[in-house]
């Protein structure tokens, strides 16, 4: 049975991804700051903050003991804060960078170590269309995801020798907690900038992620795939 690590599995896209891979006979190791919201014999949960280096290392060591190696990693955990730059506290900036950038990096580093023996590791990071669209009100969120894209491209090169691919998926707005509270006229204006003008769905994200995870995708790395026709 293959093992996939998914961060941020308590709700939203992360939970849906975990349920999808469990239904497809994967073992899933999930994490969130709170308790598990998934009950399945092939699901193991770690309550941690993805930017807590010691906790991430401890999770990796535990996975090594339990399962020996890891086949895939989905760096889904992320936070956003929609606000004008002049009204964004430094504390919020740090929190977003810690979770989105530091958390993604730590999981890439630790899980890549556990993928070495498989010779077919897969890492999928999460970015956003807010970065290519330069969305107002999302300066820090978009900047943090720009960093994730850069990490993706460089780690793709550094980890290629270990036969690990590193790619990123950039969803459009999806009806999850992340965009709750965004005014509808803002949302309509955003959708108008997509080639395909509708809200994204979790299944759109699963489809793109699964494309990168497939064994046949071993010649695809360092790519960023935006949904909805954004580029």
């Amino acid at each position: 049975m293959k093992t996939i690590v998914i961060t941020g599995t308590r709700k939203g896209i992360g939970k849906a991804l975990a349920e999808y891979y469990l239904a497809n006979n994967w073992r899933v190791a999930g994490c969130s700051r709170g308790d598990a919201s998934i009950t399945n014999e092939n699901y193991v949960h770690y309550s941690l903050d993805v930017s807590d280096e010691k906790a991430v290392v401890a999770m990796a060591r535990d996975l090594k003991k339990r399962f020996g190696n890891v086949d895939g990693l989905l760096n889904n955990a992320g936070i956003a804060s929609m606000n004008h730059a002049l009204l964004t506290p430094g504390e919020t900036v740090n929190r977003i960078l810690q979770t989105n950038v530091v958390g993604t990096f730590l999981f890439c580093r630790e899980m890549a170590k556990l993928m070495r023996s498989t010779k077919s590791g897969r890492i999928v990071n999460f970015t956003t269309v807010a970065h290519p669209l330069n969305l107002e009100g999302e300066a820090i969120y978009a900047a943090s995801k720009a960093a994730v894209e850069s990490l993706t491209r460089i780690l793709a090169r550094e980890l290629a020798e270990l036969q690990i691919t590193v790619n990123a998926v950039g969803p459009t707005p999806i009806d999850t907690d992340l965009i709750r509270g965004v005014p509808s006229e803002k949302m309509d204006a955003l959708l108008a900038r997509q080639a395909i003008r509708r809200m994204g769905d979790v299944k759109d994200v699963i489809n793109a992620v699964d494309f990168f995870i497939r064994p046949e995708s071993d010649f695809i790395t360092g790519q960023v795939l935006y949904l909805g026709g954004v580029n």
Binding site: K54, V57, A58, R61, K64, K65, K113, R116, E161, L162
Partner: protein, 98 residues
């Protein structure tokens, strides 16, 4: 707490296993004096990355200690702790005891 010779054995064993995997003939029979990385060393940067990860895992498995060999101290050291088996053993011991 493991003593120095136990740690040295773990380091040598890790180097030998890596040498088999990476087909590095010069290190298949590694001993306490083997050069690893840098001048006269036989490891390239990718092999070194693998060796460090292997030793960190082995230390956790064998001695139950969670260490990071590639920490800021190692990166800024005047003499790299990764240059030979002896310096790597000392660096591993220091971190287990920290």
């Amino acid at each position: 707490m493991p003593n120095r010779s136990e740690i040295e054995m773990l380091v040598i064993e890790s180097v030998r296993l890596l040498a088999d995997d990476f087909e590095i003939d010069a290190l298949r029979q590694a001993d306490a004096s083997s050069r690893l990385y840098g001048t006269d060393g036989s490891l390239d940067s990718m092999a070194l990355v693998n060796l460090i990860a292997d030793i960190e895992e082995a230390v956790d498995e064998k001695f139950g200690a969670s260490i990071a060999l590639a920490d800021e101290k190692a990166m800024s050291a005047k003499h790299s702790p990764f240059r030979d088996v002896s310096s790597l053993t000392d660096a591993t011991k220091e971190r287990i005891e920290a």
